[in-house]
Symmetry: C2
Subunit: 199 residues, 2 copies
Amino acid sequence: MNYPNGNNKSARSNRTSNVLGNKMYGNRGMTLEEDINTTNQYYLEANKAVIHKKPTPVQIVKVNYPKRSAAVITEAYFKQASTTDYNGLYRQKHIDFEAKETKNKTFFPLANIHEHQLEHMKSIVQHGGICFLIIRFRYYNETFYLPFEKLLMFWNDKLNGGRKSISYQQMKEEGFLIPFQYQARVDYLSIIDALYFAV
Amino acid sequence: MNYPNGNNKSARSNRTSNVLGNKMYGNRGMTLEEDINTTNQYYLEANKAVIHKKPTPVQIVKVNYPKRSAAVITEAYFKQASTTDYNGLYRQKHIDFEAKETKNKTFFPLANIHEHQLEHMKSIVQHGGICFLIIRFRYYNETFYLPFEKLLMFWNDKLNGGRKSISYQQMKEEGFLIPFQYQARVDYLSIIDALYFAV
């Protein structure tokens, strides 16, 4: 997830710690991204929703075009995303979210979200979309749905000199624990159903 | 647009022919993609809509992590997109479209659209999104909005042994000419307004 900083190694060791922290579910070292992709694939096949991860943004610098074979990119760089990673459509509503994991036991640092992402999320909500974060605390193997409106509250607190993070305790109070299902490993649509479509 | 086949050169010569075919507008050799990006940027800044192009999908094979500098991708390949290039949100509606240019004077070949893209578009419409193609005939410098439902009609004709293309004449009859505006160079939202939000 942290490609632009070049810390691929730390991403790999994080994955190990995810396995160690695996208490509650049969989640054998899958990253949050893998779990969400699997979930979206299931939603798509079950015709429940059409939600995809956007490709990783890459600045392409050099490309070779060998005869009789595919073009090879030989120099490129990771770019910072200006939007969120996932979007799509569910029950006629535009869905837009960002997913983040933290190894931290006690809080989620707000520095994980970039300001232009926050601005993007604001626009989405203004224009009638459903916007949220999916945040996994790896140590507990717990994954939360945090509505954008709650994120904005914490963000504004920070701007006014408050904490630069959301504590695990606050996450449990303001967010919603996303249930693990066999096929929908991060069944976030169940939370959207409860929040937006409850009878 | 045709990266995966390695024909970068033809893309560049196409651009030249766009300049030559430039009759009606002050469109000095901008590609359709550039025009749409400019348009989307204007929509975003005017707070009319939140619509973005997805990053080009790339299969990353090798990455170097030099000390004290950014990660460099040294081997990667263009992947075929499984969805469309553009999506977003306008007047609470999910928007999803693909954009294509053709140098052909008399028809638009349906081979420009892949079957999995058609399946994706079908799902979008099923789930309540607005889906369409933006097709530019470079020779005339005319850009059309073709509703997905019309595309599907031509597609099914093809499956039943009919033509493998949409003629320029049919495009004029079944599609909608997108007006050129100074800031919204491909003002497709004006067509959406007329089709979906007319009083």
